[in-house]
Every structure is written in C-alpha cells, then in structure tokens.
Symmetry: C2
Subunit: 218 residues, 2 copies
C-alpha cells in the first residue's frame, strides 16, 4: 500500500483513487508509454517515454543531452511528475454532460535520479526489453559500454503515487434514463498486429515465437 498524500489525492472523483501496489503496478506494467512532466526554462514540459517498473521504482531512458538528464546530472535529481493512462472504454451516456471514459491511470511525483552504474543500466534496459517482448533481451546484441554511456536512465522511486480508475456503465441522471438514446460502453483495446520483417532481414530467419503468440487481434 502506498501512503495517500495531499499531492496524490485527486481534486475530483477522489473515490476513483487507489493506492494499493497491485493496482498501481499492474497499470505501470501494462502501459508501454508514460508521459513525464518537468520544468525547463520556467515552463512546464511533457515528453512521452518508454517505461518499465522494477519493484517500486519506475524507470525511463533518454539521451544524455536531454534537459531532464542534464538537470539530473548537474543537480543530482530532477523534479518530475510521471503519468500513465490506459483508455479502456468510451462511456456513452444519454446526456452530453455525463459522457466519460473508462480509464486506468497512475500519477507519480518526485525527484528522479540518474542510474549510474553500467550493471544497473543493463538491468533496467533488459527489463524494458523483456516488457516489450518476453525473451527478446536474450537474443539481441547487448548494449556496448559506449552505447550505455550515451543512454541516460532516470529512476523515480514510487512514494508519492496513486492510481485513478473509472469502470462501469454511464452514470446518467435519473431523469435522463428514460430518453430513447442508446447508452453504454464502447470498449477499446491496443493490439499488436502481424510483425513486418525488416527489408534487410536474411532469408530463413523466422518470426520469434513470442511474437507469434502476441498476434491476437489480427
């Protein structure tokens, strides 16, 4: 259980907030992309990043020349908010006002720090690769030391963190339920389609089995 705090209590729909590790971790583990906010030149910034969680730490990587990496290198840490959202359904109510979305989101605040050791960087990048595609980290050429030096990995300890989840049907006003308009959910899903080999792939190299198993929606 993560401790609820002022910064992690939603200003609206606080009943949708969740702080248990299972809920928070499952959302972070399902989402490939996170969105990381930081302040640069006194302005708010936000960038999409590939995300991986290990234990109660969220990791993302960037180039060593990025503003976040440079701030962390100079001052030891960079103040960020990391957000993940998964859209599960459009919620179609009878009234325009009660239209909504079913979603699962996580927001985490804190000071992100650079992962310094080569071994720790390798572990994070392997975990990210395994998240994208189980088994992949064992078959590719591992990062060379100079490639690792050009990669900045930022770590955010999950302490100020909460999930927010909406599920279920539309919540129409009682007076609207009798309207003749269709109401319900339009579920949404992100799927993986048939792999496309690289044009320079040698003959006879088969699609890895982990990828074939992934092709569910095609």
């Amino acid at each position: 259980m993560y401790e609820p705090r002022k910064a992690t209590t939603p200003s609206r729909h606080a009943e949708r907030a969740a702080y248990d590790e299972k809920t928070v971790h499952e959302i972070l583990d399902e989402a490939l992309l996170c969105h990381v906010a930081f302040v640069a030149n006194d302005h708010p910034q936000v960038l999409p990043m590939l995300l991986v969680r290990i234990g109660s730490t969220a990791y993302f990587h960037t180039s060593t020349g990025s503003p976040m990496a440079r701030t962390a290198a100079k001052t030891g840490a960079v103040d960020i908010t990391l957000e993940v959202s998964i859209l599960d359904a459009l919620v179609l109510a009878r009234s325009a006002f009660h239209h909504s979305a079913n979603y699962r989101s996580v927001i985490a605040h804190g000071e992100a720090t650079l992962v310094r050791s080569e071994q720790a960087k390798r572990e994070v990048l392997d975990a990210l690769m395994e998240k994208l595609l189980p088994g992949r980290s064992g078959v590719v050429r591992p990062p060379a030391s100079d490639e690792l030096r050009r990669t900045a990995i930022l770590a955010l300890e999950l302490t100020q963190v909460s999930a927010k989840v909406r599920t279920g049907p539309p919540a129409d006003d009682p007076d609207d339920v009798a309207l003749g308009c269709w109401a319900g959910l339009v579920p949404m899903s992100e799927i993986r389609l048939t792999p496309v080999p690289s044009p320079d792939l040698a003959q006879g190299i088969e699609v890895p089995s982990c990828l074939r198993a992934d092709v569910a929606g095609d």
Copy 2:
C-alpha cells in the same frame, strides 16, 4: 505551416520534426487523449484529458475547480504544454541499443485560456462528442446551462507547435545486420470492440449505426 521555433525544435532527432498543418492536425484529430503539463505549487504536473481540435486551436475540458481552470480564471491564462502521442509500432533491431518505437506525437506550448461564452462552450463540446462518435451530439440530451457552468473548457492556440514522427524499419548498425536475430516492426493499433449496453437500457434501443460501423477489430 506552423513556424518552427526554438521551443519546438527537438533536442534529439530534429529530422523527425514536422511543422505542416496536415501532419500536426491529423495526429491531434486521431488521438482521443492528450497529456497536459502545467506548474502547480512550483512542481510540474501532468494530467490526461480528452482533446478536440477546431481550426488551429486545441481544446480540453476539466472541472471549474481544477488547478488549471482556477489559475486561468484568476490570471486570465495558464502556461501549459500539451502533448499527444500515438504508438504505431515497436521497432525491433538486432542490437538492444537500436530498439525503438514508431510513433506520431505533437507537442504544443502556450498560454491556455478559458472559453467563456455558453455558445462557444457548446460548440467545443459538440465537436468533442462528434470526434468520439460521429452523429452522437445530435441524439443526446444537450448540456443544460448549469452543467456548462460547472465545465471549464480551456483553449490553446496552436502557435508553438510541432509534430515528431518516426516511421520505417529498424536502423541497425551495419556490423549488426548479419546477426541471426529477427528484426522488424510489430505494428500496434487501438481498436474499438463490441459496444456493451448500459444495464438500465430499455429494450428495443438498437446500437447506433455509427457504432456498428466502428466495430472493425472484433
């Protein structure tokens, strides 16, 4: 063509940046969610929001009590960065280092302002509804005036805006191409599944045709 500026020139992979209206607008029009960064209590914040574009303005809505809406109400505007990203494919290279993602993203900076008139608010909410589901705004109960008063709509003029797009196969180092590892793309797609009627939906109300047409991946 949006004018390239210092704030909209990527620090990495500047060759992936695009400033033409067609590219920028198509990404904003396809993505349902945007991620809006702002500063509150001296910390960077980011929230997911439903997004609609009209002309060269991006709109999102929130409750009137949200930090962004309150700042805009008090000072006339709130400094934000709005970001949208669509994940098109995982890019699987022979080397761990060159693994990547094909994506289309938009980042826009500026001062968001409140939409004040009831008529203008109605137009934005109708456009948002039509984006979610064409034809829907004509069949639902329109917002009552008090519902509109409880809804804050923020507008961001697209002036400091750029798209960033990666397409194509993995970019392996020449020495890695001969490795025996599969390389290529795993395309990804967000699809809509079979609509689920609300439990309190009256008998005989059919799923709207616009929804039936949407069911492509089920």
